[in-house]
């Protein structure tokens, strides 16, 4: 749109979205609420109005919540943008780092038993310690290479059983890709994706400057083709004639472009931009006529001399620097003076179909990118949580092993018909308490 004054231009690099943060108009959307407010301070609310009041309050709460979220996200964007401008290496978003970082590749045994345990839990049974009892059985069954080898060596005659194990193992191997522990590499990968998005995806939205018109490019290409053809014919002729002409194909491209340029720019080239030329011509008084009346015959030759100096030489003589910057300066000055209207950039030309198409594709791309970023962030958060949890699981497994050990000792003590089992019982209780504490933390971490 060509506005009269300065139309609002947005900074193209600005990642802020400037959301609409006005709060909801309670007079329009919350009638009961407004009604209650209109009462005097001595009055009170009737029981029958509770339901409608609740609905109104919920609407208000929802709008406040949304506003809070928007503010939070915009604030994050702002903080990150500043950080980036300060050239501080920011890893994705400002998030607390829960990963202890010590974790290497998790033990395969742990991963196998975890899927089987999760499988048990999700089948809907009450997850009390009673469900732990069946888990050692599938654990030993699905423990990968070591156990399987052992079994194969020890019982080569039991072919059916080994075959059955194979299927299970193959299944778990397939599941490995999905249920293996989250490593630092995974987290790094996600962060890398986010970083790539920040760096590269903005590039999709830049509208490249208008290149050379296709007519010129095609003309050049056609000319080159013809020259190539000509050269080929020449080559063949030369080949058959065994003559020693200089090879011309190398200079083909340079000749073509210079030919075209010569064809187009038949007029004298001036390094000065059009505005500069107009300005100078406006300031120049056309009074060449008066002196020339007197000395027309004598200075007939001289009159031609004056414009004989090419503008390029003139620029060098006058010591004017880069004509392009001069042009721009003049343009800006004129705009500020209000003499020249700010020309709209080529971008707003509705007839430019390619531009429209480009813009349409960009608008399609934008929500997709937003979706991608949202999910990446979500994944990253979950990956970090899971890493923390994996630490907990390791501790839990150790505690579990200890517990088994203690119970075994207790069993042994009972077998030996020891009368005072107090010490064993105490140690079992201690480990059990520890076990429960870790279990509770694990459970909570899943339910957060």
């Amino acid at each position: 749109m060509k506005g009269k004054g300065k139309a609002p231009q947005q900074d193209k690099d600005c990642p802020l979205q400037f959301p609409d943060l006005t709060s909801c108009d309670h007079t329009k959307e919350c009638p009961k609420y407004t009604l209650v407010l209109s009462r005097s301070s001595e009055d009170t609310i009737g029981i029958e109005e509770l339901d409608s009041l609740q609905a109104d309050l919920e609407i208000l709460l929802a709008s406040v919540g949304k506003r809070h979220h928007l503010l939070e996200s915009e604030n994050q964007v702002l903080v990150n943008w500043q950080d980036k401008k300060d050239k501080k290496p920011v890893a994705g978003k400002v998030q607390p780092e829960p990963t202890p970082g010590k974790r290497g590749k998790g033990a395969s045994a742990a991963t196998d038993e975890r899927p089987s345990k999760k499988f048990k839990e999700s089948s809907g049974k009450a997850t009390q310690p009673s469900s732990r009892a069946p888990s050692p059985a599938p654990r030993s069954k699905s423990k990968n290479p070591q156990v399987k080898d052992g079994e194969m060596v020890s019982s080569p005659a039991e072919l059916p059983r080994v075959v059955k194990n194979e299927c299970v193992d193959r299944f778990w191997q397939a599941m490995e890709a999905y249920s293996r522990p989250i490593t630092d590499e995974d987290v790094k990968f996600l962060e890398e994706q986010l970083r790539k998005h920040d760096d590269e995806d903005a590039g999709y939205f830049k509208i490249p400057p208008l290149g050379r018109h296709y007519r010129e490019v095609w003309a050049e290409e056609d000319l080159m083709e013809e020259m190539a053809e000509g050269a080929k014919v020449n080559d063949r002729k030369r080949h058959t004639n065994h003559s020693n002409h200089t090879n011309q194909t190398g200079n083909g491209t340079i000749e073509a472009s210079s030919l075209l340029k010569k064809a187009e720019n038949s007029m004298e080239e001036s390094p000065f931009g059009p505005l500069t030329q107009r300005l100078v011509s406006a300031l120049l008084e056309e009074n060449l006529i008066t002196p020339m009346d007197d000395v027309m015959t004598d200075l007939g030759e001289n009159a031609e001399e004056a414009p004989a100096i090419s503008p390029r030489m003139l620029a060098k003589q006058l010591n004017i620097g880069n004509p392009a910057t001069l042009e721009r300066r003049i343009q800006r000055e004129l705009e500020e003076q209000g003499i020249l209207e700010t020309e709209d950039e080529v971008e707003d030309d509705p007839n430019d179909e390619i531009l429209q198409e480009l813009k349409r594709a960009q608008s399609e791309l934008k929500p997709l990118l937003q979706w991608k970023v949202r999910h990446l962030k979500d994944l990253l958060k979950k990956a970090r949580e899971q890493q923390a949890r994996q630490q907990l699981w390791k501790k839990f497994d150790e505690c579990d092993a200890k517990l088994h050990e203690e119970y075994r000792k207790l069993g042994l003590a009972r077998q030996k018909k020891k009368t005072n089992l107090k010490r064993e019982r105490e140690s079992v209780k201690k480990v059990l308490k520890e076990w429960w504490a870790i279990y509770q933390t694990l459970d909570d971490s899943y339910n957060e």
Binding site: T44, L50, E58, L61, H68
Partner: protein, 320 residues
């Protein structure tokens, strides 16, 4: 006795005119023990109502105070959009304004939550009073039952998570903990065998739970003869959500389009398999679902609206 009667008369008149069947007048007379309880409850309710009123006024005060900040932000946005570049001055100014506005939003939401909690408190007091005196189960007419169910769905409290918070279990589509036990009075979907031998998922209310046998005693909400109490295993009971999810702040707590769910068929008290056609857009909107129906050409009914309260995840593997 006279005092309680008059006290209840006031609340009854109010509720029957405004609530449209949200609370039914207890028919039974209260014994003297109940009378003193009722007086206490009445007094507490009055007190709470007064507090609620004050809270509402506080909310409005907070809102008008935060308006100032929001208009500032809007003005700054306008100015920033006119510049061709965002200067550091604007950035810091915006940051300051944003943090002030976040604080305001926090305060406002705190007050709103307090007010909503207060409303919940009043309602529970009223519910308890009703349950104490309501021993013989009311035989309600169909229409009354349906409006009651509607009312229930609309007044389900809304969950609005603060930034960084996740919706809790039993909010919208978020499943319950594996160790969750329904309390007496909770509404659930129960798979029971009817008199004709057919299995149906019905809307029911929990009476008791026996941990030793892992069984629930549930009451069919449609209290006709022969449909009353069932004793079923825990696996056949699915609790209904106790919070509504807000699509604007927690869209993940809603069932997405195309998901298979169990939804209450409108004007009935049974759950049937359905596909989600469209999740709710606003906090008070319903799901639009397509019920599996062999009497239609493509096997599905036209889209019907079902409230968030009556849509649960489908774990049924065989077709009904």
């Amino acid at each position: 006795m006279g005092r309680t009667k008059s006290g209840k008369h006031e609340s009854n008149a109010g509720s029957s005119s405004g609530g449209r069947g949200s609370s039914l007048s207890p028919v039974a007379n209260e014994n003297s023990n109940g009378a003193s309880n009722a007086i206490q409850a009445e007094a507490r309710i009055k007190e709470n109502l007064k507090e609620l009123f004050n809270l509402v006024r506080e909310v409005q005060d907070e809102r008008s105070r935060s308006e100032h900040n929001l208009t500032n932000i809007a003005r700054t946005h306008e100015r920033m959009q006119q510049e061709s570049r965002v200067t550091p001055y604007y950035k810091t100014k915006l940051k300051g304004l944003y943090s002030a506005a976040m604080q305001d939003a926090d305060n406002e939401s705190e007050l709103l939550r307090k007010a909503l909690d207060k409303i919940k408190e009043i309602k529970t007091i009223r519910e308890n009073r009703r349950h104490e005196s309501d021993r013989p189960k009311q035989i309600m007419r169909r229409g009354v039952l349906m409006t009651l169910l509607q009312q229930n769905a609309v007044t389900l409290p809304l969950w609005v998570s603060k930034p960084g918070e996740k919706p809790p279990p039993l909010c919208g589509a978020v499943p319950a903990d594996s160790s969750y036990v329904c309390k007496a009075g909770d509404k659930v979907a129960a798979r029971v065998k009817g008199q004709d031998g057919e299995e149906n998922w019905i809307l029911a209310e929990v009476v008791t739970f026996t941990p030793q046998s892992n069984k629930y005693d549930v009451d069919d909400i449609d209290a006709e003869e022969g449909k009353e109490r069932h004793s079923i295993s825990r696996r056949r009971v699915v609790p209904l959500p106790i919070w509504k999810a807000n699509p604007e702040t927690d869209p993940d707590a809603l069932f997405p389009k195309g998901m298979l769910v169990l939804a209450l068929y409108p004007q009935t008290t049974c759950f049937y398999r359905a596909l989600v056609e469209e999740p709710p857009k606003g906090p008070q909107d319903d799901y639009s679902v397509l019920f599996e129906d062999t009497s239609y050409l493509d096997g599905y009914s036209p889209p019907l609206m079902v409230a968030q309260r009556y849509v649960i995840a489908c774990k049924d593997d065989k077709k009904k």
